[in-house]
């Protein structure tokens, strides 16, 4: 099959990238392993999507539908029920599907938009037995919202991530009992909005600094033992509580899905789990771009969409030979209390022309006035005061073109976040 741009994955990142590229008059093929477009949004039947882009409160499938229509209008082709098995460094893509067998696509540019997957019980090495009734929250969400099955009746949810909190509410709607949401950190892992709308409004008990010490039950989960943890996240003996239940849901983090990227030899950032990208969402392989949760895990779909648009436009420019000349590159360094910064590099030219946007996450929450600074050598380029910072909420800042002149003699900028004095 031939196409100028191939997009792997059709979530909001892939759809936005495909649309943006197609609007530049290049041919675009989107490859999706599910039987329909939309990615994870199709199972997110709750509202809360599109507040920034559409100033409207949409459900996931509604939001997806708008982009699916845009993509169609722009002339994007789609290969559904088709899994990308391999991408070679020279951009040859191998796809499998029941109709065509193995398809080889060799586009001029690729956008990787595979989304992410959930951390599992194995990764946490939770002690106890291994019965039926232990699911990740996203798997449960698919079972309930798409397949129409209840995975259990009495739930304990480990982790206060967004999917976990949304599922706490969803399962309550479906007549199940959510006994507890347990969070091993002293603070929330997801958005405060979801805490209010999904946990507090439904009187679901959420306990901080507690984790699951043991799963009990032979064939099916019979109980979960919860335990308090100290500051090093170690269980405190004597604080165990046996919670009878038949299902344990895990909402303990998402991992960007980069098997393909890694096998292609793209340079990765251990802090994000995704490829190192520049301000055009370009990876270390020329002509290969990435967007959305493969790059780093976003909270809001609107931002995923914007990143997708950037990646799609850059892919089209690459096809059309309009790539920016490779000028000076500046690294962004995660400094004090900063866990990650994206993009990890940017071109000085891009900054001088149109400014550069940085997205970041903090390590530790600070529940009071906080100062964010970006410095180059000793020169402060950017400063902003925030009311609070939380690991569950991504921060976005815009660096203006005028600071570019301070970067001529340096090759990195450092982002720090600290209590304001």
């Amino acid at each position: 099959m031939t196409t100028d741009v191939a997009v792997v994955g059709s979530g909001p990142a892939g759809l936005a990238a495909a649309t943006a590229a197609a609007e530049r008059e290049v041919s675009v093929l989107i490859i999706e392993r599910e039987i329909e477009l939309g990615g994870i949004l199709q199972q997110c039947i709750h509202n809360g999507f599109g507040v920034e882009i559409f100033a409207q409160d949409l459900t996931g499938p509604e939001y997806a539908q708008r982009y699916i229509e845009r993509a169609r209008q722009a002339g994007v082709q789609a290969l559904l029920d088709s899994m990308v098995l391999d991408v070679l460094p020279d951009r040859r893509i191998y796809v499998t599907n029941p109709r065509d067998g193995i398809v080889e696509v060799h586009p001029k540019a690729i956008v990787l938009a595979m989304g992410c997957r959930e951390r599992t019980r194995g990764a946490l090495a939770i002690p106890g037995t291994r019965p039926a009734g232990v699911y990740t929250a996203g798997t449960a969400q698919r079972l309930v919202n798409i397949e129409g099955y209840m995975p259990g009746r009495r739930f304990v949810i480990l982790g206060s991530g967004d999917i976990g909190m949304i599922m706490a509410r969803r399962l309550t709607f479906e007549g199940a009992v959510v006994e507890r949401v347990l969070e091993n950190m002293p603070y929330l892992n997801g958005l405060s909005r979801n805490y209010v709308q999904c946990i507090r409004d439904y009187n679901i008990p959420l306990e901080f600094c507690r984790t699951v010490a043991e799963v009990r039950g032979r064939k099916r989960v019979e109980a979960v033992v919860s335990v308090a943890v100290d500051e090093q996240r170690r269980p405190i003996p004597g604080t165990e509580e046996v919670i009878p239940c038949d299902t344990l849901l895990l909402s303990v983090g998402l991992i960007p899905e980069n098997e393909l990227s890694r096998r292609m030899g793209i340079h990765m950032d251990p802090a994000t789990g995704g490829p190192i990208v520049d301000e055009r969402m370009g990876t270390s392989l020329r002509g290969v771009f990435a967007a959305g949760n493969v790059v780093h895990v976003y909270d809001l779909v609107d931002w995923v969409t914007r990143a997708g648009e950037v990646a799609g436009r850059s892919a089209a420019e690459h096809v059309l030979g309009l790539d920016r000349a490779s000028g000076k590159r500046i690294r962004t360094v995660a400094g004090k209390n900063v866990r990650l910064v994206v993009p990890q590099v940017f071109g000085l030219d891009a900054l001088l022309e149109q400014g550069v946007q940085l997205q970041l996450r903090v390590r530790q929450p600070i529940e009071e006035k906080t100062r964010l600074t970006v410095t180059a050598e000793t020169k402060e380029l950017f400063r902003k005061t925030l009311r609070y910072v939380r690991p569950g909420e991504m921060i976005q800042i815009e660096m203006e073109p005028r600071v570019g002149r301070w970067l001529e003699n340096t090759d990195s900028v450092v982002v720090d976040i600290a209590k304001a004095d």
Binding site: R33, D81, M83, L85, Y94, T96, N97, P98, R99, D100, G101, I102, E104, R117, E118, T120, R121, G122, A123, A125, I126, P127, G128, T129, R130, P131, A132, Y135, T136, G138, T139, R142, L143, V144, I146, E147, G148, Y149, M150, P151, G152, R153, E174, G175, A213, E214, R218, K219, R220, P235, D246, E259, R262
Partner: protein, 483 residues
């Protein structure tokens, strides 16, 4: 009048399945029973998967003889059955003067046991073979005949080949008593059913002593000894062979090994426990395993763990395998206390049991149409793109990926469900296809497998289980109400 079997084999672990297959060469009516919903649900599914060379057991013991004999049979056996087996070599690693002395003792013992090719290698040679090994290594005992096998693959393939040669398998059939007549064992009782047979082979793993008790034999007892494990993500799997620390009297120690699919696996510890069902993992046990493993390979990163599990060794009271015709209960052949190296020894144990049955008077006439070859079903992940395309052309279901981490297709899952020993639950599919055994551990495939199982078995999704009745994956439809 119900039919009479020549032999009823109790227990469809690797030992029972290989016994059934060995007997299927002859003109016999054979029944293989297990209480679980699939074959390979006991120790045979939860072990270190090492085909030991045989330097470890005391010379002259059944363990020593059958281990060395079993190891030698592995190439042919796995070729016939189409099972993953790798003679990757094993190393016992020494860190101290005492350890170096132990290597010498093991070498001598191994030579007495008849293990071929044993030699002590230098620190440099060890580091060259396994670059991630603890650099404090002093020397190692290298055993070229040691290897690793896919223990699920072997057990299932043996059962399937037995079925292809006429053996009858009954699952979810727990033996609760023995039929006896004038002191002779004449069959088994399983709840309300009974099965008459001329001989009963007791290969019930950790429960073999209880089957013996049903025959009035109570001299031999089995204690469960639990061992816990970690499995690592294939992409963060540093070793290519099998690394042992120097052994202690209770255990061979925490091993760092690769699996036939390239995942590093570490374990087991050794904990004597009370219950024969207690396969839980514990925080202390996992800690012990990790620390033991990091002594061998310091760079092992617990963040790359994708699965933890535990298995129970069937530790017999005599310290050796007990493989014999029961003198006080004629008709019963006991295969008990088959702890490690039971997997390695299993092919030789099976031959030994055939000999015992012959000695006990079972007439063994070879079958003219016996076929030792089992052609394994297609494994999509191992094919070239061209072979894949050809396969999909014959059956489009091989074009749909159900498990993304291990690239398992719908076609493979359907084939497993309709195999000679049908996979009737999620775990059974997993053992046959690796579906769900990768880094997302079923997060992606579970809803899809649920649908496929319900469709192929013709049952509602609420009846689909993880590993048999009581382990249903979902409890009701969303729009249904609980009563």
């Amino acid at each position: 009048m119900s039919e009479v079997y020549d032999v009823a084999v109790v227990g469809a672990g690797v030992v029972g399945c290989l016994i059934a297959r060995a007997l299927s060469r002859y003109q016999l009516k054979i029944l293989l029973l297990d209480k679980e919903a699939d074959v390979c649900c006991g120790a045979s599914k939860a072990n270190t998967a090492i085909v030991h060379a045989g330097y470890d057991p005391k010379p002259g013991t059944q363990k020593a003889i059958l281990n060395v004999g079993g190891n030698a049979m592995y190439d042919q056996l796995c070729t016939e059955l189409g099972v993953h087996f790798l003679r990757c070599g094993t190393y016992v690693v020494a860190f101290s003067d005492d350890d170096v002395q132990t290597l010498d003792d093991l070498l001598k013992r191994g030579q007495r046991n008849g293990v071929p090719g044993l030699r002590i290698i230098s620190r440099e040679e060890m580091i060259r073979a396994e670059p991630h090994i603890n650099p404090e290594v002093r020397a190692a005992l290298y055993t070229p005949s040691g290897g690793i096998v896919d223990p699920f693959g072997l057990t299932i393939a043996a059962a399937e080949n037995a079925v292809a040669n006429g053996v009858e398998v009954r699952l979810e059939t727990e033996v609760t008593g023995l039929l006896r007549h004038e002191g002779r064992v004449k069959g088994v009782v399983a709840g309300t059913q009974s099965f008459r047979s001329h001989f009963v082979v007791n290969a019930a793993g950790v429960y073999a002593d209880e089957i013996m008790r049903m025959a009035g034999l109570d001299g031999f007892t089995i204690r469960p000894r639990r061992g816990e494990y970690f499995v690592f993500d294939r992409e963060m799997s540093p070793v290519r062979s099998v690394l042992f620390p120097c052994p202690t009297p209770v255990s061979k120690g925490i091993v760092v090994t690769t699996t036939t699919h390239g995942n590093t696996m570490v374990g087991p510890n050794a904990q004597d426990i009370e219950s024969k069902e207690d396969t839980r993992v514990t925080a202390e046990g996992l800690d012990e395993v990790l620390h033991g493993a990091q002594r061998l390979v310091p760079s092992l990163d617990p963040r790359a763990v994708i699965r933890v599990f535990a298995g129970l060794r069937a530790v017999g009271s005599t310290g050796d395998f007990l493989i014999e015709a029961a003198r006080e209960a004629p008709g019963l052949i006991n295969v008990a206390g088959i702890e490690s190296p039971g997997l390695s020894a299993a092919p030789a144990i099976a031959e030994r049991v055939v000999e015992i049955l012959r000695e006990e008077g079972l007439a063994l006439y070879p079958k003219s149409d016996y076929n030792p070859i089992r052609v394994p079903p297609p494994d999509f992940s191992e094919l070239s793109h061209r072979e894949r395309a050809a396969l999909i052309a014959t059956d489009p279901r091989y074009g749909r990926i159900v498990c993304r981490c291990e690239t398992v297709t719908e076609g493979e899952i359907v084939a497993a469900i309709h195999g000679l020993v049908p996979a009737r639950n999620y775990d059974a599919i997993k053992r046959r296809t690796r579906c769900g055994s990768g880094r997302c551990q079923g997060g992606f495939d579970t809803p899809r497998v649920l649908e496929i199982l319900a469709r192929e078995l013709g049952c509602p999704a609420t009846k689909v289980t993880l590993n048999g009745p009581g382990s249903e994956l979902v409890v009701r439809g969303t729009k249904e109400v609980d009563h």
